[in-house]
């Protein structure tokens, strides 16, 4: 290295960058809490999947390309292939995970196979052993790239406990604890962590592209000159052809096998790596986000790999064999004089490491806590746990200790293994470890008959063969085991050579291991499942997983014999206590709100409790916790679990029955409601007719009586005659008015009235209405006063109808105000409305009648005095008009004051929307002409 950057500056830059990640994560958590999630976006989701690309991609791809040419690509082609199957596979997994409240891949497998704690623990253990060394690789990559960038400033001088590896492990532990294990959450979502991961994905992509562009165009003047320079060197020309990666097409085996095996393993790892399962399934907020990730994530992989080969060739041209190719990404810009770009590359690598470490430790700690530690604690120390009222602190402590332990283990492995083969090759070895979950995972989604024992057998066999064919040989190649273990087999038994098991020679070691692990794993899984019987719990869970898109199962026979046992099993109080212990008293209180604590819990509540607990501590632990909740002696824990299984079974079956019954009930209810409405309408029509005829008959009777007198008695004096005729005319007018109103009413009700809604001058309409009724008031000796602002703003309405409303209210007041009384028309501006009130000094409207006076033919006078004083339609019409115009109408006591001496008085009021917006600008809306046709 010619010129290293100052190590202190690099350290500060790294710490500033990591602090920024903390800030982003904190901000995302705050946004989530405020209900404005930043991670609920398909792009962020796709970017968060980029946690797949660790330092093994960022630095390691170049290293692989230096020996394999395009042989580094299968690691990214595999996930691309898997994403193409997302509509089939991932969607189903997401759907199930949401329905079952899955917390990790161990929890997923345990839940599928009848909530088996054994399987969950096995998966958690395998994943931890297989993946933690991979964390060591990340620490090493950061340490080595730091040294490359600074020329070895810190790592060798500052003592064993202050190296970069320890520093990064400590910061990552802090991050994982703060954003990954801060609280026990029923949904196990970590929005802050996901936001930071998405940002890191962006940073590492930008960093790699920037380095690639700098190398190709800055150092070599374009792709063609770079490739031309490389082609001139036979050792480099080899990397540009297919031979390095694929070998001769005719040679079979060889690199061929490695290519195919790597493709398959990385596709499986994309699904089964704890961190991938975490970001893809557990943290997923919406399964529709997959639709974009299907192409966006492969595109991400393509872009981050675009410049791998150019950077490799450039590095080999520049440094020859003098530098580890893994460091080209940092070394090339540094050597080219672009220190800032080297720093950016280092931060990109740091992002890759940090993202992987944080998500992996959070996923593993959740798994270890829920599927290993808690089931053991619940089984071995049930009494100690039962005494504790709130177990959330314990859960958090377990997770935090697990996080620290995993990182310490990773750091220790890094210090121990150094640059041993066991560490360098751990990438694909850990892929192969987690790939052991794939058969049970995928089989469990589509094969109903797969059993718990089959899955346990498959994972165990696969993991053992993996350890024998990949892990132990890697130890041997690191010098920790005698090398004869590989070359001659243990104890000299040639058939047991780990790279040529049973004489299978000439294979690439990875393809060899893939073949044997797959054979053992799938063989045990299928074989054991075929000769095994499922328990009730397994049947239920198998149906729930396989039929995730068709929630009603059809292959399960109900066993309706369990109901009687429930009475003594558990009470609501028991359930509340156990849920409160893990999720806090508030959640528990909400879940079982309103139920008597002494009441037997019953199957549905037990299921609810199980689901709530599963979200916090995983399916297997949830069941054990539930079993421990039952009052001692009432029923055996095992018995309770059996009942839970059988109940689930019955519930699954009865659910469809319930659904159908509920549908039938809904239809019946709708029919009954429609029938009642029709009856009511019929009754209203009859009422209306009888009232109308009654109202019509009253004036008709007096007209007829008076005209008969006039007809029969020609000797009537002219004064009398004149008086009778006046009454006849008045009654005919009343009759006409009544008929007009009935017609109006009928039109409004039928929606056949023509409306011309426009901006109108309210003041003018009020004045017109007053002019039309003035005579009436004068005749009855009532004083009418008008009180309104000089200039009223325009309102929206139909001018004729508004006048009609005011006239109706005024005539109503004229009728009910005793002679000598007073009536006042008041108009005031309200909040966006014009409020008009007609205040009289009449008897007022009793509170109980206030809703009724606006009904047809409901007159206050009718009930109070027995003497009809109007048609009974005026107020009803006014109400319908006002409501059509978007206003409100009502009646209240007249305000105390001038009229207090003459009874309470009534104030009939209505509002109309102003045509002007509150800012004072006219809307200038054109008139709207509507004609409603029913």
């Amino acid at each position: 290295m010619q010129t290293g950057l100052d190590w202190a500056a690099v350290l500060i830059a790294a710490l500033v960058y990591l602090s920024a990640l903390f800030a982003i994560a904190h901000w995302a958590d705050r946004r989530e809490a405020a209900g404005r999630s930043v991670i609920a976006s398909p792009t962020v989701f796709a970017l968060s999947l980029g946690v797949y690309c660790t330092t093994w991609t960022f630095y390691g791809s170049v290293g692989r390309a230096a020996t394999l040419g395009i042989g580094f690509l299968p690691v990214y082609l595999g996930p691309t292939l898997l994403m193409l199957l997302a509509p089939l596979l991932l969607r189903k997994i997401l759907r199930i995970a949401k329905a079952q409240r899955i917390t990790s891949i161990a929890d997923f497998l345990a839940s599928r196979y009848g909530h088996s704690p054994l399987l969950g623990g096995l998966v958690a253990l395998t994943a931890t052993l297989g993946v933690t060394p991979y964390i060591a690789l990340q620490l090493k990559a950061v340490a080595v790239s730091f040294d490359a960038l600074t020329g070895g400033g810190l790592g060798t001088t500052a003592g064993p406990f202050l190296d970069q590896g320890f520093l990064i492990a400590a910061v990552m532990a802090l991050f994982a604890i703060v954003f990954g294990a801060r609280q026990i959450d029923a949904a196990e979502h970590h929005p802050g962590m996901v936001a930071a991961i998405a940002l890191e994905s962006l940073v590492k992509l930008v960093a790699f592209l920037a380095v690639g562009i700098f190398v190709v165009w800055g150092l070599h003047g374009g792709l063609d000159s770079l490739f031309a320079a490389a082609a001139a060197r036979p050792d480099l020309a080899r990397l540009m052809g297919s031979e390095a990666a694929l070998g001769h097409a005719a040679s079979g085996g060889g690199p061929w096998g490695a290519w195919v095996a790597t493709t398959i393993l990385s596709a499986a790892a994309m699904l089964c790596l704890p961190r991938q399962f975490q970001v893809m399934v557990i943290e997923s907020t919406d399964e529709r986000h997959l639709d974009r990730a299907i192409w966006l994530f492969p595109l991400y992989l393509l872009l981050i790999n675009l410049f791998v080969l150019p950077v490799t060739l450039s590095g080999l041209l520049t440094f020859g064999g003098g530098l580890d190719p893994d460091l080209f990404v940092v070394a090339l810009p540094l050597n080219g004089g672009a220190g800032w770009l080297a720093l950016l590359a280092f931060l990109g690598g740091l992002s890759a490491a940090a993202g992987m470490i944080v998500v992996e430790t959070v996923a593993l700690s959740t798994m270890l806590c829920n599927d290993l530690v808690m089931p053991i604690l619940l089984r071995t120390r049930p009494r100690a746990l039962a005494r504790s009222a709130d177990l959330a602190p314990l859960l958090l402590a377990v997770r935090r200790i697990a996080i620290v332990a995993i990182l310490l283990f990773g750091y220790g492995y890094f210090r121990l293994a150094g640059s041993a083969y066991a560490l360098v090759s751990i990438g694909l070895i850990s892929f192969a470890a987690v790939a052991q979950f794939a058969p049970a995972l995928i089989g469990g989604l589509y094969w109903r008959g797969a059993t718990r024992r089959g899955a346990i057998g498959g994972v165990t066999a696969g993991a053992l063969v993996w350890a024998y064919t990949l892990l132990l040989p890697s130890f041997a190649r690191s010098g920790w085991l005698p090398s004869g273990f590989i070359t001659e087999g243990p104890w000299g038994i040639a058939a047991l050579r780990p790279y040529a098991l049973f004489g299978l020679e000439g294979w690439d070691s990875l393809a060899h291991a893939l073949f044997w692990t797959a054979l053992a794993n799938i063989g045990a899984y299928v074989g054991l499942s075929l000769f095994d019987r499922q328990g009730a719990a397994e049947r239920v869970q198998a149906a729930a997983f396989v039929d995730a898109f068709h929630p009603v199962s059809d292959g399960v026979t109900p066993t309706p014999t369990v109901q009687s046992d429930w009475r003594s099993a558990a009470s609501v109080g028991d359930l509340t206590r156990v849920v409160a212990r893990f999720l806090g008293p508030q959640r528990a209180g909400r879940a079982f709100d309103g139920a008597d604590p002494d009441e037997p819990a019953g199957p549905e509540r037990l299921r609810l409790a199980e689901r709530l607990l599963a979200g916090a501590i995983g399916g297997a632990s949830a069941r054990v916790a539930l079993a421990s909740s039952v009052s001692a002696g009432a029923v055996e824990a095992a018995e309770l679990l059996r009942m839970l299984d059988e109940t689930s079974d019955v519930i699954a079956h009865s659910r469809e029955l319930e659904r159908k019954t509920a549908e039938l009930e809904r239809a019946t209810d709708a029919l009954r409601a429609a029938n009642e409405r029709l009856t009511e309408l019929d009754r209203l029509k009859d009422d209306f007719l009888s009232t109308v005829t009654h109202e019509l008959r009253t004036p008709l009777t007096s007209i007829r009586a008076l005209s008969e007198i006039l007809h029969d008695d020609p000797g009537l004096d002219s004064g009398q005659r004149q008086e009778f005729l006046a009454v006849i005319i008045k009654e005919s007018e009343r009759l006409t008015r009544l008929i007009n109103q009935v017609l109006d009413m009928a039109k409004i009700e039928a929606g056949a009235l023509d409306w011309r809604i426009e901006t109108i001058d309210a003041g003018q309409a009020l004045t017109e209405a007053v002019a039309a009724t003035e005579a009436l008031f004068r005749e009855r000796g009532i004083a009418l006063s008008v009180d309104m602002p000089e200039r009223l703003p325009p309102v929206r309405g139909d001018v004729d109808r508004v006048i009609q409303v005011v006239v109706n209210l005024l005539s109503n007041a004229a009728k009910f105000t005793p002679p000598g009384g007073r009536t006042r028309l008041v108009a005031r501006l309200g909040d966006g409305v014009l409020r008009v009130a007609v205040i009289d000094s009449g008897p007022g409207v009793p509170a109980r009648d206030r809703d009724l006076v606006f009904d047809r033919f409901r007159q206050s006078g009718d009930a109070l005095t027995g003497k009809p004083a109007g048609t009974g339609l005026g107020l009803a019409i006014a109400k319908r008009i006002v409501e059509h115009l978007g206003g409100r109408i009502g009646v209240e006591d007249a305000p105390a004051g001038p009229f207090a001496e003459s009874g309470t008085g009534a104030s009939f009021w209505f509002t109309l929307p102003l045509a002007v917006s509150p800012s004072g600008q006219g809307t200038g809306e054109p008139p709207v002409i509507t004609r409603k046709i029913d």
Binding site: I70, L73, P74, L77, T80, L81, M83, L84, L85, A86, P87, L88, R91, K92, G222, L223, D224, S225, F227, A228, A231, M240, G241, S242, L246, A249, W256, W259, V260, T263, E287, D291, R292, I294, W295, P298, L299, L302, L306, L309, F549, H550
Partner: protein
């Protein structure tokens, strides 16, 4: 271009879209792997870039584009 999902709300990944993605998966699995990769990944160069490199990234990009189009045409 594409018929609507025949069972809406039932199995979201069903119908033509799902079938097309399975087809694309099989095509990509064949193209990404040795026999075809070795046959088409011949020597020579395109615009100065090794033909194999162009070929691998070309089909990769094409597969991604097809996946995006299939999703959009659904």
């Amino acid at each position: 271009m594409s018929a609507p999902d025949p069972t809406p709300g039932h199995e979201p990944g069903s119908g033509r879209y799902r079938d097309r993605m399975i087809g694309l998966f099989l095509l990509a699995a064949a193209l990404f792997n040795p026999p075809l990769l070795g046959l088409f990944g011949v020597g020579g160069s395109i615009l100065g870039v090794p033909a194999l490199y162009v070929w691998v990234f070309g089909i990769w990009a094409a597969v991604i584009a097809l996946a995006a189009i299939a999703g959009r045409a659904r």
